[in-house]
């Protein structure tokens, strides 16, 4: 069972090389940009300059905030790419084998349809985020090296200014939690895409996105309500992972400085709130239902 599952996941990674090529490509490009001085923000340069020459009131907290900001900027690029990758992966995962007719070969092996579809769900929810995490961490480490060289050139001490493992583990911890929870939160879409991939006779992309746009419109026109639109919007935009973040908490106006406790990304994450959110669990149930439907379609559809 486990051996089959590992083989199936390896198979997915062989077939969909973009799972690791995409984060690797983004990593290479951003590292190159950092090395050529394009990626690291001017704000960081200015503040670092100030810190190095000791001419500013840049304190420990500000330094940490700048470091966190400078390193985490790339995360959004990776996460955006991860989402695009997941959409295309899911839509292709049960469609390509029907298109190239290899489904009959795969089904000639002693593997159940449940095992096969489950492996694709695992790739979407775990393997793609894992590859993304590796891409992010490698990029951040490389950027640290680039920044260290730059800071040393200015006569500063990279060990003190940049290699702050407290801050680094805070960033990596937060990124890890983010990459585990985002796919779970968006899992109803993953389930839907898997189902469309198993179901669509052609152009799964269109079949997947058309209902997301059209069905809420029909709801509005026919029933006059907009529950679906809200459900889709809330799911896409508002993830209950972050605690109460208000501008006052982030910035202390009296001191005209950052508020100390908010430099930590981890401290912004409220995992309890996420796990106790009913929306998370209804989302997972919806994902389960769509995945079951995808298994059912692969099992019972007669291609002739």
């Amino acid at each position: 069972m486990i051996r089959t599952q590992i083989a199936l996941i390896k198979r997915e990674i062989w077939e969909h090389r973009s799972i690791w090529v995409t984060p690797a490509a983004i990593a290479v490009v951003t590292i190159l940009m950092a090395a050529t001085g394009l990626a690291i923000g001017e704000g960081f340069r200015y503040a670092a300059d100030m810190a190095i020459v000791g001419a500013s009131n840049v304190g420990e907290i500000e330094r940490r905030a700048l470091l966190t900001g400078a390193l985490s900027g790339v995360t959004f690029l990776f996460v955006f790419a991860m989402w695009v990758l997941t959409v295309f992966y899911c839509l292709d995962s049960l469609y390509a084998e029907r298109k190239d007719k290899s489904i009959l070969f795969w089904r000639s092996l002693p593997i159940t349809d449940t095992e096969t579809v489950f492996s694709k769900l695992v790739v979407a929810l775990l393997a793609i985020p894992a590859a993304t995490l590796v891409g992010i961490v490698v990029t951040q480490l490389a950027n640290l090296v680039v920044m260290s060289i730059w800071v040393s050139g200015k006569g500063g001490s990279p060990g003190h200014l940049l290699w702050d493992f407290g801050a680094l583990f805070d960033i990596w911890g937060a990124t890890l939690i983010f990459l585990v929870t985002v796919p779970l939160w968006l899992s109803p879409f993953v389930g839907w895409f898997l189902f469309v991939s198993a179901f669509a006779k052609r152009s799964p992309l269109l079949v997947a996105f058309l209902p997301i746009v059209v069905v809420p419109m029909l709801e509005r026109m026919i029933l006059g309500t907009s529950y679906l639109a809200k459900a889709i919007f809330v799911r896409s935009a508002k993830m209950p992972l972050f605690g109460d973040i208000s501008p006052e908490k982030l910035f202390d106006e009296e001191r005209m400085a950052l508020a100390a406790e908010n430099v930590s990304l981890l401290s912004m994450i409220d995992i309890g709130r996420f796990l106790l959110s009913p929306s998370l669990w209804t989302g997972l149930v919806v994902c389960g239902l769509f995945t079951t439907a995808a298994i059912y379609v692969r099992r019972y559809r007669d291609e002739s």
Partner: protein, 285 residues
């Protein structure tokens, strides 16, 4: 005798179309059965039912399993080649072997490697880089390295040239078939495989027209080559089918008095292909 496959009243409908119509048969262990039928006769549907790829009415038991409901268990003991094109084109040969080794308990990767070493198939090649014949060799190597009790071949040599086709069946016989295993094969190239078959089955319009061992065939069917007045006498004995070859009449008979026929011309055992035509034409007439 142990029945590997046993079908009783198997029926499959697609909407109003009856693809397989109340079919009953048995396949015994150690046989090589050829299943023949014109396009759309129901061969593929029947094979799909045997492989558990489609549900059907009636009773169907394959190696003691209900194929549709116990497909995973069944697939440990069955191999099938449905068409040369079904291997995924993106995969590397080595990856394919690793994958089958990890998922199929009865597959020997070293045996597959030995078999492939005798071909031009390179292990680091992707399937899409291989010629059609090489893909067939690859698939056959995987199948021959799998210790299965039943092998199902559905048009395994479609689109291959004659040399590959001959080699394919020669390898199958010499390296795979050992009297313990059972093979079920369909093809349109009847004449190329009739000499390796132990049994044949004809299917037409979803029904079985003929289900016989090759040995029994000679006892039941006769082909008469005749002309002139003798042809008239023979025709009165109600042949299944009659055709003209170089000005002579060739008639196919079923369960007929051979001694009477013998005096009317040259008597011989019909080839499977001719018998097939006679049966199908006879059924349509």
């Amino acid at each position: 005798m142990t029945s590997l496959v046993s079908a009783r009243g198997v029926t499959k409908r697609y909407g109003s179309v009856l693809a397989v119509d109340n079919v009953s048969f048995d396949i015994e262990k150690g046989r090589i059965l050829g299943l023949f039928g014109p396009n759309g006769a129901g061969k593929t549907t029947l094979l799909k039912a045997v492989l558990g790829l489609t549900d059907c009415e009636g009773e169907l038991s394959v190696l003691g399993y209900d194929p549709f409901r116990q497909r995973k268990a069944l697939m440990r003991d069955i191999c099938f080649i449905a068409d040369v094109a079904v291997l995924p084109r993106w995969i590397r040969v080595s990856q394919l072997l690793d994958f089958v080794a990890a998922t199929h308990p009865n597959f020997s990767i070293s045996r597959a490697g030995d078999l492939l070493a005798e071909t031009k198939v390179r292990k680091d090649a992707r399937v899409r880089e291989l010629s059609k014949g090489m893909v067939a060799q690859l698939h056959l190597s995987i199948v021959m390295a799998t210790d299965a009790r039943l092998l199902i071949l559905d048009e395994p040599t479609l689109g291959l040239d004659i040399i590959f086709r001959k080699e394919f069946y020669a390898n199958l016989l010499s390296d795979y078939f050992d009297g313990e295993r059972t093979i079920l094969v369909t093809t349109h190239q009847v004449e190329e495989i009739e000499n390796i078959l132990t049994d044949i089955m004809f299917i037409h319009d979803g029904r079985i027209l003929l289900d016989s061992s090759m040995d029994a065939l000679a006892g039941h069917y006769a082909e008469l080559v005749t002309s002139g007045a003798n042809a008239e006498t023979a025709r009165a004995m109600r042949p299944l089918h009659e055709r003209e070859v170089f000005g002579k009449r060739v008639m196919t008979f079923e369960d007929v008095d051979r001694e009477r026929l013998a005096g009317l011309g040259e008597l011989r055992v019909p080839s499977v292909a001719d018998l097939f035509v006679a049966k199908v034409k006879g059924a349509t007439a």
